[in-house]
Symmetry: C2
Subunit: 355 residues, 2 copies
Amino acid sequence: MSGADLAKGLACPVPLPADAGGTVLLGHGGGGRMTQQLIERVFLQAFKNPALEPLHDGATLPVLGGRLAFSTDAFVVRPLFFPGGNIGSLAVHGTVNDLAMCGARPLALSASFILEEGFPMADLKRIVTAMKEAAEEAGVSIVTGDTKVVDRGKGDGVFITTSGVGVIPEGVTIAPDRARPGDVVLVNGPIADHGIAILSVREGLEFDTTLESDSAALNGLVEAMLAAGGADVHVLRDPTRGGVASATNEIAVSSKVGIVLRETALPLREQVRGACAILGFDPLYVANEGKCLAFVAKERAAEVLQAMRAHPLGKDAVAIGEVVAANPGRVVMESRIGGRRIVDMLSGEQLPRIC
Amino acid sequence: MSGADLAKGLACPVPLPADAGGTVLLGHGGGGRMTQQLIERVFLQAFKNPALEPLHDGATLPVLGGRLAFSTDAFVVRPLFFPGGNIGSLAVHGTVNDLAMCGARPLALSASFILEEGFPMADLKRIVTAMKEAAEEAGVSIVTGDTKVVDRGKGDGVFITTSGVGVIPEGVTIAPDRARPGDVVLVNGPIADHGIAILSVREGLEFDTTLESDSAALNGLVEAMLAAGGADVHVLRDPTRGGVASATNEIAVSSKVGIVLRETALPLREQVRGACAILGFDPLYVANEGKCLAFVAKERAAEVLQAMRAHPLGKDAVAIGEVVAANPGRVVMESRIGGRRIVDMLSGEQLPRIC
């Protein structure tokens, strides 16, 4: 199956509960259209408030004369340990990145653990040690937490929810509705590594070299980008579940703009390209955990790109597309051979429990 | 089994992993000594930092020239729906209360959901609606969230983690190490309702009237208490998992003081007393979700008690004991017949998945 076919397949209607009927499906956790519909029809309807409305990676709160970013993420990844990290490091990186995508400097994290009875204490120690190391590397502290234990067969080893607070510096306004025609879309390196690394463990795929998850804390990189781009950095987003396709779609809708991506510009490791071809995955829909999309005003894009390349986590940064006025709410891919196809959101579940 | 027997039973040594060996047991989630040991030996060892150290219900963060409280709690209660609430209202109350116990005015909550594939959408709606109502009643907004779905048999319907941030007003310093000899111990009403309400559903116990959980948001009550007591309110603690016994033990250890409780003063509904007698539970160890222990300087205790009684959630408030210099780190109960017994922490697991 080619990428285009898969995209078409994903655009097909999926049975979705229009009201409160039905049951929760794996696809509701996929990070694509079904997740969005669950959020809109169940959560947003109930919790409606101005801070929640922008549907960013975190909320911005006016507090004590400044602005605070506040974010949360649950982690249920399978397997718990994978090349390049484990559920613990992922849980720290994920929430640090959500704060960074609000333009905030992460201040503190909380960690809540739901443990299954019988889970090996040694594995818990490894996970907690990875969290400590990831937090230290990102320069944040884990300041509060909670632990619950559920009976055997009612959990799956360990689930972790991390939340985080950060301070948004004055003058920084990053939001998913701030993309403007002319903005250049940047990414800090090859996409789809995390999803394919997880999948390769699950499926027992063998590569010449081990393919590692890109899981990393991006707050340092973002700080360098904001120092270079200032208020001309309009939108930041980490394309996790649902991949670059879903992340860009959400921004196109929020900002009421069109986004054009260039297939030839998309950075992709050869291993990942090969694995995607064999498995019928479109890398645009595959999760990343150490990647950041940035929408930057054209006149500052080169400076921001340079700042990214000067950072270890951005050395392979490139421009992958631009924002246009045409087709608001739509993402279009210019293919290798010059054709154009619509890149839809992920509709169902491509790869359950990827994060 | 009498309460005293149970307390003795609980004081017996329980096999505990001294290092990273062994596996997670249900008792590690009980909120008593095993939970404390897990926290000390696994989490604290890794995450050690000044904000985490006080082991309060939440962390206090200096930020933007003020002080922020930050807290998190995972909820895995069984059954999901119980008299007096459901997992959703409980998740909101729990985190609002953790913030209130830091003396903070709750500002915003996050909610992360781990859903099991196949969970009825209608039940999710009920839960989310209860969260909305509980949040409105407490005057806070749910501003950010996350949803993950795990495969059938790898979860248990729904787990919710809520986190919260709140602002600590100037002049307020509530901390578990601030209890002083002479302080009066107050509680805002009858204890053990939540645990017995949950248990009665699980065991199919019948009462003349339905026994409801006391689950409630205590921030309004705490605000009234602080208005009356100011800096003379030294410690606040909601005695959830592990009950009044574990909460007072933690405070006795943190503050290096003794605590004397008077059995005759402990407020207890007749139904709860009966259920505890039949089931062999000591109400001191049974969870509460709408109760608050306050340690207040003697000279202001009457005023604070009066303020509590003027609030709907404190109309049955009473003094249940006092802080002494003798036996630092110990909680002692003066029994009905004049005897004294040591009240130890909950050692194992009394009632799994109570919150």
